[in-house]
């Protein structure tokens, strides 16, 4: 029978399919269709966890996703996963689960001493206790708290696991529909049916693996549900997603849902576990149902205390009796259903304690032969690891009686599940009839139907769902497909039994702990303490006590906490309200959010047109943004291969791939005017066939980007940007063109990937180029430094620029990306007699530091044109971005960090990026810092660039470059940043 408590057949379980599983290393048996919780209960396991703070023994409280107690670690192919809900975790063959938060074992937990120390551990005790001394937090308190608090442990798979074989364990899917229906209970099914009949595209999501919700707990409801599901399957315009939990509503009709894909993936032999569905819908119908509330009374957390509706679910769906002699404590008629059902199943019922003085359901129960004590409340629970009995008190007379029972089934009424509707913008209204808040949603967002808005009873909910669907269909008539007149009308559900209204019941005072939040161990006393200490707003109370901050978001006790706070403040509960729910409505594994974007797919990789050539040439690649660039053509570590490449450029000739530069084609009658506005220097005076260095400022006058811009025709410019800012500069230019220069005739085209670009640099560069650039006089007079021209290169149409980043005589050759290999090969061939060899990014960096050219390390967003020595570039007339604020007095004030060169006094010492520049007398007062450093090839020792307070005035001084993390401080000379060929003889040669 797969466990002593399995007393019959369940609608979800298959009695013929037995499954073996282990809990805390104990082998047990369950049935296919069980959850871990139902299988444990069937095996008579009561204690499944220890609580968060007091380490009290706990058993399942619920039968669904609102469960606060039954969190377990699951050990499987994916490693060790903490905080899985036993109440929703589908049992499978070989499942291995362990209880959490106990040490050394579930039965004997040493930290249960916290329960005895409770009066020293009130709400806010962290803030009050772990105050001083300051050092102790990090070294003593936090490690101790981390050991004592928290839930499960996470660990990777032992042998690579599923991930190693199948790639990502999650994926993302996008859905579009006219109407998203959330919840497939009576209201959701009826609503989805009506919407599909109206010809709308409907997506129906339900967190349970089976549709029906409450309708499945009753034979006539189940029959209705089966016929409804069969009807839904016939619609081509309706999709059903069972096992899919809506976790967030993000406005503008965007929703996120988490689909459990384990069974589907197992069938397909994949390691897929979850699918994150991003749903875009014109309207939403929330039919999210209601959650049964607990009641705060002493001992309401004992294993065996459970919600009445959960007991009904365990019986009907899994055939499990949660106790051999259950008692009830309730305030509403709906909860009697579990008593009648268990009684009918042959379970001995100890009695029902009803806080109300009369009830129609009580009469039905008495007729069935169950003892009912009206007008009484439970004020104590007996037993430690399991309930052994209870004490109840007559509300009028005050007499106290005891009842022997092995479990206590509680119901404090039902609270509509409003979290998702609230995220979608619903406002909450108090409804005294059900003592709960109901949501009201703007019709342009959607509707709420059924128990989710306080319409209880299956027939009433179905009617409400269909009504809500008709209201939505009315709004969306214009986009609906043809109505499905062929759909057979569905038979209605039998009428709901008449019920007596509930009487609000939140707390029963007594000795001991009355919990309002079982997951975070928050008691009614904690809430009152918060109120006394001034945390009277429900949001403040929540943060102070942690009420409702657990993974279950306090669903079962949220309103109870509000009611206790209201009572302490002497105001009605509707005035206190509930704390604002935010996404995610259910815990979402980070892996599900990452989806397939892990490992090599974490970000896209852009490969250069010559990537294969670089790879074949033995390049070590570096990831710069999304680009893969050759760092050095060697597999060897260290500086030597880099410096060999750099020396070769200085001494002979080298070639490097600079295709990653951003390239923006600027055309139009006003192109020059526009560039004058975008750049701090002037471009309208640039002759055709010339290039100019351009400096771009932000409006706050800090340097944004730099690059070389060439004039290819009177109305045609080519802007180049740094690799890092290629996207940002294009957006910057597009923004200003469309926002501030709307009358200008200018067109911007991103041609970054259209053109491959190479630099040929070194004393032999002209000789190499002369061999490939036909029909162009490359003499210094005809094609001087900063010349630009269209040219035929190796027989292919291209562009030639005489610009230099390295400080040598250099040309940059641009050719269409498709011609990259042909031209590069031709250049290598032409350069062979001159000993040409490729150089990578590291060598380029060495060359530019010696030359004093700035790059990202110096253009760090805090440096002005003046700081970098570019003050003369700023034009004196005409408007440009950054003009006004460049004249701020603060930017000319003493103490600004200015660009300088740095060289160690002892050439044997090395420089370090980030080293602080200090004086020998005040070694802790930073005057600036090194931004770039490299061993030099043009001279002995290292070369560095630095930003130094009043740097230009300090040239010639000696300072210390201090790097405390390396335990170093070396003497350095402050020099001009142009450490190599300051007169520019070589580039002009």
């Amino acid at each position: 029978m797969s466990g002593p408590a399995r007393i019959g057949a369940g609608s979800d379980t298959d009695a013929a399919a037995k499954l073996r599983f282990r809990f805390d290393d104990r082998p047990m048996q369950g049935l296919a269709g069980d959850t871990l919780a139902s299988a444990l209960l069937a095996n008579g396991v009561r204690v499944v966890a220890r609580s968060f703070k007091y380490h009290r023994p706990r058993g399942p409280l619920t039968c669904g996703p609102e469960e606060p107690n039954a969190l377990v670690d699951v050990i499987g192919a994916m490693g060790r996963e903490p905080n899985r809900l036993a109440t929703t975790l589908a049992l499978h063959e070989g499942l291995e689960a362990q209880s959490q938060n106990r040490w050394p074992s579930l039965r004997t937990d040493l930290l249960a001493v916290n329960d005895r120390l409770a009066r020293f551990l009130p709400a806010g005790f962290y803030y009050k206790t772990f105050m001083a001394p300051g050092w102790a937090w990090e070294r003593l308190y936090e490690p101790l708290i981390r050991r004592a608090a928290g839930f499960g442990r996470i660990a990777p798979p032992r042998h690579g696991g599923a991930n190693a074989h199948h790639g990502a364990c999650a994926e993302t899917v996008h859905d579009h529909c006219d109407v998203l229906v959330v919840g497939a209970g009576a209201a959701g099914l009826a609503g989805a049916h009506a919407l599909a009949v109206a010809g709308l595209r409907v997506l129906l999501v339900e967190q349970q693996p089976a549709f029906g919700g409450g309708a499945r707990l009753d034979a006539s409801g189940q029959a209705w549900c089966d016929s409804m599901c069969a009807a839904l399957r016939r619609f081509g315009n309706l999709r059903c997603l069972p096992g899919t939990t809506l976790v967030g509503a993000y406005g503008h009709g965007v929703y996120a849902a988490l689909q459990d894909s384990t069974s589907e993936a197992a069938a397909a032999g994949r390691g897929l576990r979850e699918r994150l569905r991003v749903i875009r819908a014109r309207r939403v119908l929330f039919a999210t149902g209601a959650v049964e509330r607990l009641v705060a009374f002493p001992g309401n957390d004992r294993p065996g205390v459970m919600l009445a509706g959960a007991a009904l679910n365990y019986l009907r769906r899994f055939g499990v009796a949660v106790g051999q002699r259950p008692a009830w404590f309730l305030n509403n008629d709906e909860a009697y259903e579990s008593a009648l059902a268990l009684h009918e199943a042959g379970v001995e019922c100890a009695g029902i304690i009803d806080a109300r003085t009369h009830s129609l359901a009580a009469e039905r129960a008495r007729t069935a032969g169950i003892a009912v004590h009206l007008g009484a409340v439970v004020d104590a629970v007996h037993g430690g690891n399991a309930v052994s009995g209870l004490r109840y008190r007559d509300l009028r007379g005050g007499e106290v009686r005891r009842l022997r029972a092995d479990c206590l089934l509680v119901s404090g009424g039902y609270s509509p599940s409003t979290a998702l509707a609230c995220q979608a913008g619903a406002s909450l209204q108090w409804q005294q009839r059900i003592a709960a808040f109901v949501p009201q949603l703007a019709p342009e967002t959607g509707q709420v139907a059924g128990a989710a808005r306080g319409v209880f009873g299956l027939a009433a909910a179905a009617l409400d769902g269909a009504g809500a669907a008709r209201r939505i269909a009315g709004q969306l008539q214009s986009i609906a497909g043809p109505a499905r007149t062929d759909a057979a009308p569905q038979p209605p559900l039998p009428p709901d039994p008449e019920a007596t209204d509930l009487v609000p019941l939140w707390e029963v005072a007594g000795r001991g702990k009355s919990f309002v939040d079982l997951q975070n161990d928050v008691t009614a006393d904690d809430v009152r303490l918060a109120a006394r200490e001034g945390y009277t707003h429900v949001e403040h109370m929540k943060r102070y006590t942690t009420h409702g901050m657990g993974a279950d978001q306090g669903r079962t006790g949220g309103l109870v906490g509000s009611a206790v706070l209201a009572d302490a403040l002497g105001v009605p509960v509707e005035q206190v309200g509930q704390s604002k729910p935010r996404p995610y409505a259910q815990p979402v594994p980070l892996a599900a959010l990452a989806g397939a974007e892990t490992g090599a797919h974490f970000k896209p990789k852009r490969r250069l047109p010559l990537h294969d050539w670089h790879e074949a040439a033995g390049a070590t690649f570096v990831s710069i943004g999304t680009w893969l660039r050759p760092l050095v053509y060697s597999a060897r570590k260290g500086w030597e291969p880099v410096l060999a490449e750099a020396r070769h450029v200085r001494g002979q000739v080298g070639i490097t791939d600079v295709s990653t530069l951003g390239k923006i084609d600027v055309q139009g009658a006003d192109a020059a005017r526009f560039l004058d506005f975008i750049y701090a220097n002037t471009f309208s005076t640039l002759p055709v066939g010339r290039a100019r260095y351009g400096l771009m400022l932000r409006e706050d006058a800090m340097v944004f980007d730099d690059g070389t811009t060439s004039r290819l025709g009177p109305n045609h410019f080519l802007v180049t940007t740094t690799t890092a800012n290629a996207t940002a500069v294009l957006e910057h230019m597009e923004f200003h063109l469309q926002a501030n220069c709307t009358r200008l005739d200018v067109h911007l085209t991103d041609v970054s990937e259209r053109w491959a670009q190479f630099a040929v640099a070194g004393p032999q560069a002209r000789a190499v180029l002369s061999a490939v650039a036909s029909g162009l006089d490359l003499s210094n007079a005809a094609f001087p430094f900063m010349a630009a021209a269209t040219a035929t290169i190796a027989g292919l149409p291209g562009r030639l620029f005489r610009i230099s980043f390295s400080g040598e005589l250099a040309y940059e050759i641009a050719v269409p990306a498709g011609a990259a290999t042909a031209v590069w090969s031709a250049l290598l061939e032409a350069g062979a007699p001159h000993g040409i060899r490729p150089y990578g990014l590291d060598a380029l960096n060495t060359l530019r530091i010696e030359k004093g050219h700035v790059t990202g390390a110096e253009l760090n967003g805090n440096t002005s044109a003046d700081d970098l020595g570019f003050q003369r570039l700023l034009k004196s007339d005409g408007d440009f971005i950054g003009r006004a604020l460049a004249r701020r007095p603060a930017l000319a004030a003493p103490g600004r960090l200015q660009l300088v060169g740095v060289r160690p006094v002892d050439p044997a010492r090395r420089l370090r990026n980030g080293a602080q520049l200090v004086t020998a007398t005040e070694p802790k007062l930073s005057l600036g810092y090194l931004t770039s450093a490299t061993p030099a090839v043009a001279f002995e020792g290292w070369a560095g660039l630095a930003l130094l307070a009043d740097g230009r005035a300090r040239i010639g001084e000696r300072l210390q470059a201090s790097s405390p993390v390396h335990g170093e401080s070396i003497e350095v000379s402050i020099v001009s940043p142009h450490m190599y060929d300051p007169e520019n003889r070589r580039v002009r040669g």
Binding site: Y250, G251, H252, G253, V254, R280, G425, E699, D700, E731, E734, F735, Q738, A739, N740, T742, G878, D879, R883, A884, L885, R887, R888
Partner: protein, 90 residues
């Protein structure tokens, strides 16, 4: 997540756009005093109300759009191309 109805491309996800700041704080005239530029760059109101903002449709038509969004509800009540926005009075 915002869904912005681009006048050229239709309703698109926020991820296709780049936020480009307050559209209710136009750049001062080129010869305006520094104080106006300081206000333009650094001084922003933070209304709990309708807010005009620039969104550049970088993964679509690359047009700059002027979007009126409510900062509390994220509701969007108008989206126009920057060129059209300029022609509106005020």
């Amino acid at each position: 997540m915002l869904r912005i109805e681009c006048p050229w491309c239709g309703v698109r996800d926020e991820i296709e756009f780049r936020y480009r700041g307050d559209a209710g704080a136009p750049r001062p005239a080129g010869d305006a005093p520094a104080a106006e530029f300081i206000a333009h760059v650094y001084e922003r109101s933070n209304p709990r109300d309708w807010h005009a903002e620039w969104w550049l449709h970088v993964a679509g038509c690359r047009r700059l759009l002027r979007v009126e969004r409510h900062t509390l509800t994220h509701a969007i009540r108008s989206v126009v191309d920057a060129t059209d926005a300029r022609e509106e009075p005020g």
